[in-house]
């Protein structure tokens, strides 16, 4: 390699422009790393603090009780010289065996024992239902807006309204849901009320992303199809929608994360602090399934973090729940991504 230092017409020069470029490059790099560090620290904290709750040192290495049991009150007491911690049921059974234990003073901590299984179930149900409603409504609206609607003052107003909807605070959605679905429609605190409230919250994202995906499909596909004598709907169904699906699913991934994690909308509309029965237990009619409330993970974390006195035991549950929450969202998102990639390969253009 030549190490000639003789300057020629293409030599590198340090000018103001190149210096500025270097500086800007470092700014962008730093910004990215800051984001990375913040994100990492959040995740790592949760993982670090939540891991003791999730994992055990002995087989099967996972604290299955946490995943499969409902929350219980924790009793901490001293018995025969040992400090013991027990959940409510275990404690009762213990007292049967050792009647003397009944007289020992035990401090109790609500929700600090047992698991979060009902909350997991509730969150998953809420996500699935609300995303279904959001996708159906949102994609239909997007198709109408991008393919059928003629530009005019009204349509511009509609688009503006959708954009504004994206900026509405989630607590306002909660109040809206409470007012309309819970009270006015008379659905009470129920799954279905939560579904619709969450769906409306995530609708703007779905509509905008779907519209963008539909617009990204080249005009040539539509023209070519119409020129062969297809109706507008035939063209959209066969030649536009399949190719816009990957983009639509991407928006759904974003939507899932939001829907799963919002507390405010479900506080008044779907979530119970504690519920003994799982949604499919003790149903008198099949439709009762929709009109019952559920527990939800974000709400549970909120309850455990602020509604009850804080101590080392509640902390365990908080971080454990947060960890599980992250896992669930990651799982659903991964499933979405896999589905999207499959569709992308099938409908490549």
């Amino acid at each position: 390699m030549s190490t000639s230092t003789i300057p020629h017409i293409f030599s590198k020069k340090t000018t103001l422009a190149t210096r500025i470029e270097q500086a800007i490059f470092w700014c962008f790099r730093t910004a990215t790393y800051v984001v990375l560090i913040c994100g990492a620290s959040v995740f790592l904290t949760i993982i670090y603090r939540g891991a003791p709750t999730i994992f055990k040192t002995e087989a099967p290495f996972i604290n299955t009780t946490f995943f499969t049991e409902a929350p219980e009150t924790l009793y901490v007491f001293e018995f025969e010289g040992e400090k013991r911690e027990m959940g409510d049921r275990e404690f009762r059974a213990f007292k049967e065996i050792h009647p003397a234990a009944a007289k020992v003073p035990a401090s109790s901590y609500v929700y600090s024992a047992g698991g979060i299984w009902p909350a997991i179930v509730g969150t998953v149900l809420l996500v699935i239902g609300s995303m279904t409603i959001a996708l159906v409504l949102g994609v239909s609206a997007a198709v109408y807006l991008s393919e059928y609607a003629r530009d005019g003052a009204f349509i511009r107003f509609v688009r503006l309204a959708i954009l504004n909807l994206a900026g509405v605070p989630s607590i306002v959605f909660g109040l809206f849901g409470f007012g309309l679905f819970v009270t006015f429609f008379g659905w009470n605190v129920s799954l279905i009320a939560g579904w619709f409230t969450l769906a409306f919250m995530v609708l703007p994202v779905v509509i905008t992303a779907s519209e963008e995906s539909l617009k990204a499909v080249p005009r040539g596909f539509r023209e070519g199809s119409l020129a062969l004598g297809a109706t507008h709907w035939q063209t959209i169904r066969k030649n536009v929608m399949p190719y816009a699906l990957p983009g639509i699913l991407t928006s759904s991934i974003l939507g899932i994360a939001r829907v799963a994690g919002e507390t405010a909308p479900i506080m008044f509309t779907a979530a119970y602090v504690i519920r003994d029965k799982l949604p499919w237990e003790d149903l008198m009619h099949a439709t009762d399934f929709f009109f019952q409330g559920v527990m939800a993970l974000p709400y549970h974390i909120y309850v455990v973090s602020s509604k009850i006195p804080q101590n080392e035991f509640t902390e365990r549950v908080q971080y454990g729940a947060a960890f599980v929450f992250l896992l669930i969202v990651a799982l659903i998102a991964t499933a979405s991504i896999v589905l999207r990639n499959r569709l992308r390969n099938r409908y490549k253009w």
């Binding site: 003629r150 530009d151 080249p218 040539g220 596909f221 023209e223 070519g224 199809s225 119409l226 020129a227 062969l228 004598g229 297809a230 109706t231 035939q234 066969k238 030649n239 190719y243 409908y347 490549k348 253009w349």
Partner: protein, 285 residues
């Protein structure tokens, strides 16, 4: 007096012996006048407030190739898109005066279904737009829309259309490969095959070769020459040599008006209008 025709261009085969009569045979008599398929009568077309076509009167003959030439923005593509009502897709377009009749039916009449019209008047676009499906699915798209399901019929149509588009030998082994994997010229021929699969009466071609290299262009031109025995073809082109090579009749447009419409030979050898002469000899602008 029987005129023996000196075999030329469209009518000869290589093996037929040239005539021994040295007298030049009049070409105009040799090609019989065709029936009028499309009758454009006093057409005024507007994009919103802007008038794009002014009092256009044109009769397109059946089973002939008609070329529409003229400088950019003269309205030839607009007229083409009027013929299969693709202009309906653009907002604000309207015909304020005049009619377009195909086989005697006013295609902008209230009882006319544009979908049915487009099944009989096909279109090939400037930028080839094969669907991102397999070659087979591309060609059967139009038929499937009409409800044809029988596999044997679809197979038959695929082969016939691909042969008709001079593409069969190149793709017969990969009918289920993606249409996007073909070269530019092949893609355009695929679009032509797709258009002829529904057996239209008319094929509209909007600058079909403008994005193609010379060899693909001449293959497409050869194709047009063969197709005109079955279909009426109307081609918009910027390339004057192409119009001279391919077409039987040529219409010259300028600024939305039809300046001259005659046999291609007349337009290029002895145009009637000075503007036509200036345009074909490249002295425009």
């Amino acid at each position: 007096m029987v005129t023996t025709e000196i075999p030329m261009a469209t009518r000869s085969t290589v093996n037929s012996p040239p005539s021994t009569d040295p007298r030049p045979q009049p070409r105009e008599v040799a090609e019989p006048a065709g029936a009028t398929l499309i009758d454009i009568d006093h057409l005024d077309f507007f994009y919103g407030e802007n008038q794009a076509l002014f009092d256009v009167n044109l009769k397109i003959e059946e089973k002939k190739v008609t070329a529409l030439i003229g400088p950019s923005g003269c309205g030839k593509s607009t007229l083409l898109r009027c013929l299969n009502r693709m202009n309906d897709l653009i907002e604000g377009t309207q015909i304020k005066q005049g009619t377009i009749k195909i086989r005697g039916v006013d295609i902008y009449g209230a009882d006319v279904d544009a979908i049915e019209l487009r099944k009989r008047v096909g279109m090939v676009f400037q930028k080839s737009n094969p669907f991102p499906k397999s070659i087979y699915e591309n060609i059967t798209y139009g038929l499937r829309l009409q409800g044809v399901k029988s596999k044997s019929r679809l197979d038959e149509v695929v082969e016939k259309s691909l042969r008709g588009a001079a593409l069969w030998n190149e793709v017969k082994d990969r009918l289920h490969a993606s249409g996007l994997g073909l070269s530019g010229g092949q893609q355009q021929r695929l679009c032509i095959a797709r258009a002829i699969a529904v057996e239209p009466d008319v094929i509209l071609m909007d600058e079909p070769c403008s994005a193609l290299d010379p060899i693909s262009t001449s293959k497409v031109e050869e194709l047009i020459h063969e197709l005109k025995e079955q279909f009426t073809i109307i081609i918009v082109t910027h390339n004057m040599q192409q119009a001279a090579r391919c077409s039987d009749k040529t219409a010259f447009f300028y600024m939305g008006k039809l300046i001259e419409f005659a046999d291609t030979q007349t337009i290029f050898m002895n145009p009637g209008h000075a503007q036509t002469e200036a345009y074909v000899s490249g002295r425009f602008g």
